[in-house]
């Protein structure tokens, strides 16, 4: 039996999938990270203080976990949801009442989305308190702010999709603020001077019309399911990679004698 296993491990198929042995050596531990497409953004080794939950609160990691949960449950919801005004509300009701595990998936998506907004902000709060926005991490703070905005936009676009009264009026209120955008809104500073009107300003492009309607639903759906997640994923990759390049999770200066 052992011989058979050994023979199997010598085959090309096995070796092409598992490219190194599983001995617990530092070299192998490093290879496990480097050879794994999902882990290669992760540092090979981290310092002891970086594993201290009291320091990081694990908020960045939890945010990323929630993003993964939202991606998976979101794709599952897409099997039943049609982003057209005639169907959207019915499909949401169908998901909630008749689809097996539909309520579980939708509620995971909904609560996960709420939680992600909270964890992003707690993560920022921690980074602020520990001074981790300071050099050399200023660039990554900037990336993080963009990710915060993308999280809000994902949350906002997702809010319209149930297509109920709450969704429509919340988005009406939210997008009416865009009227007052400087330069780009028809009621904002310098907007009218630049020729902005209700049917050619930034709000019009958001809504696909002059009021929240079926084109808005489609626009928000495409933004919510395709555009924003891709942009967020790209920024996340940069964000994680940059943590490593900036010397890992911030902590005490280990070059000093006392440490």
């Amino acid at each position: 039996m052992g011989k058979l296993k050994e023979k199997f491990q010598q085959t090309e198929v096995y070796k092409s999938i598992f490219r190194h042995s599983y001995q617990d050596t530092s070299r192998n531990r490093a290879l496990q990270i480097l050879d794994n497409v999902f882990l290669h953004l992760h540092p090979v080794r981290i310092s002891r203080h970086a594993t201290n939950v009291g320091y990081t609160w694990g908020m960045g990691g939890i945010t990323f976990l929630l993003f993964l949960v939202l991606t998976i449950t979101g794709v599952i919801l897409m099997f039943y949801y049609r982003p057209a005004a005639e169907y959207a509300y019915e499909d949401m009701k169908y998901l909630m009442n008749d689809v097996p595990f539909g309520p579980l998936m939708r509620n995971m998506h909904r609560w996960g989305a709420h939680a992600m907004v909270i964890t992003v902000m707690l993560h920022m709060f921690r980074v602020f308190l520990t001074g981790s926005y300071k050099p050399p991490r200023q660039f990554n703070w900037g990336v993080g702010v963009i990710l915060l905005v993308l999280t809000f936009l994902l949350s906002f676009t997702g809010y319209l999709l149930p297509w109920d009264q709450l969704a429509i009026w919340a988005v009406t209120v939210g997008t009416n603020m865009a009227r007052a955008t400087p330069l780009l809104g028809h009621e904002g500073p310098f907007g009218p001077e630049l020729g902005m009107q209700i049917n050619n300003d930034i709000r019009f492009i958001l809504l696909g019309g002059t009021q929240v309607g079926p084109p808005t639903l489609l626009r928000f759906y495409v933004g919510h399911c395709i555009f924003l997640p891709i942009v967020a994923a790209i920024f996340m990759a940069v964000h994680f990679w940059r943590i490593r390049k900036d010397g890992g999770i911030s902590g005490p200066d280990t070059t000093k004698k006392e440490f």
Binding site: W169, T172, V173, N176, M177, N199, N200, F204, I205, G208, G209, T210, Q211, G213, P214, P215
Partner: protein, 199 residues
């Protein structure tokens, strides 16, 4: 002087001694830019980049234009609201509110078309007859009803509801144009088209 394998522009090598080939170095090609300060390599690369940026620029503009629909399937801005005799004095009619977001009001002086768009952030207020006011469900703005229809008095709304152009069509029906708005704070409500006079 650099020893270059391909350069025959500088034939100053002494032929007697065998040249010692230096290993190829990683350096940019010799920069002979000629009269136009541009050699063939630079020219091709420059035109390539220019073409690329022109493509990028025009496709960005195209994508931007693409997002502005030419036609919107929204209710028309003018509509006919039936005959004056359909309304009784003192009535606040919600007949056209669902489709056009307008209240048709008849009082002792005549007819008013009051826009049902909250001046705070655009929700649709509700007409509460018993409390004689219009109340927005979103953040609680209140607007007076009889006698000064539309004046804001509570909540965050910064200004009164708008009144819309109201007139009589040729066939005797009431005609409302939602594109022409009369704003109280600009003194518009006294203009003739803000009120359709009728006893």
């Amino acid at each position: 002087m650099k020893v270059s394998e391909t350069s025959d522009v500088t034939p100053k090598q002494s032929s007697s001694q065998p040249t010692i080939r230096k290993p190829k170095q990683d350096r940019p090609p010799d920069d002979d830019r000629g009269t136009w300060k541009l050699n063939r390599r630079n020219f091709l690369s420059l035109s390539g980049w220019i073409a690329f940026f022109i493509f990028l620029f025009t496709s960005t503009l195209g994508a931007l234009r693409f997002m502005f629909p030419r036609v919107t399937y929204e209710p028309p801005s003018t509509f006919k609201a039936g005959y004056p005799e359909d309304y009784i004095i003192g009535e606040v009619s919600e007949k056209y509110k669902d489709q056009y977001r307008v209240w048709i009001i008849r009082n002792a002086e005549g007819f008013i078309a009051l826009s049902a768009i909250c001046t705070h952030l655009g929700c649709t207020p509700r007409y509460l007859a018993s409390e004689n006011k219009f109340k927005c469900p979103c953040h609680g703005s209140g607007f007076r009803s009889d006698p000064d229809f539309g004046i804001n008095f509570e909540g965050p709304a910064p200004r009164p509801l708008e009144r819309l152009k109201i007139s009589l069509a040729e066939d005797g029906q009431i005609l409302v144009d939602r594109n022409i708005k009369f704003r109280y704070e600009l003194g518009d409500w006294t203009k003739p088209e803000a009120l359709l006079k009728r006893g």
